[in-house]
Amino acid sequence: MAEQSLSGLTEQQAKEFHEQFKVTYTAFVGLAALAHLFVIAANPWW
């Protein structure tokens, strides 16, 4: 039984998934920031 990770993913799979995760998460944060800027422009909450 080779050394297996807790999740069952190999190092290569984990790194590969993480690359996609970073891309998608960056897009999510970007879109959220944009949405907040629109709200600030239209209707600041302070």
Binding site: S5, L6, S7, G8, L9, E11, Q13, A14, K15, F17, H18, F21, N43, W45
Partner: protein, 53 residues
């Protein structure tokens, strides 16, 4: 337990996937994010910061 190497982030961020399997947990996480987002919008509208605040 003290001799466990401390992670160096963000270089070691990917190691989370050696502990958490995204095939199992990615969708539950995304639904949790959705629930939080709905809750935040609900509060923001409830306190009157809606479209015509």
């Amino acid at each position: 337990m003290s001799d466990v190497a401390k992670p160096k982030n963000p270089e070691d961020d990917w190691k989370i996937w050696l502990v958490v399997n995204p095939a199992t947990w990615l969708m539950p996480w995304l639904f949790a994010v959705l629930v939080i987002a709905i809750a935040v919008h609900w509060v923001v509208f409830a306190v009157g910061l809606g479209w015509h605040a």
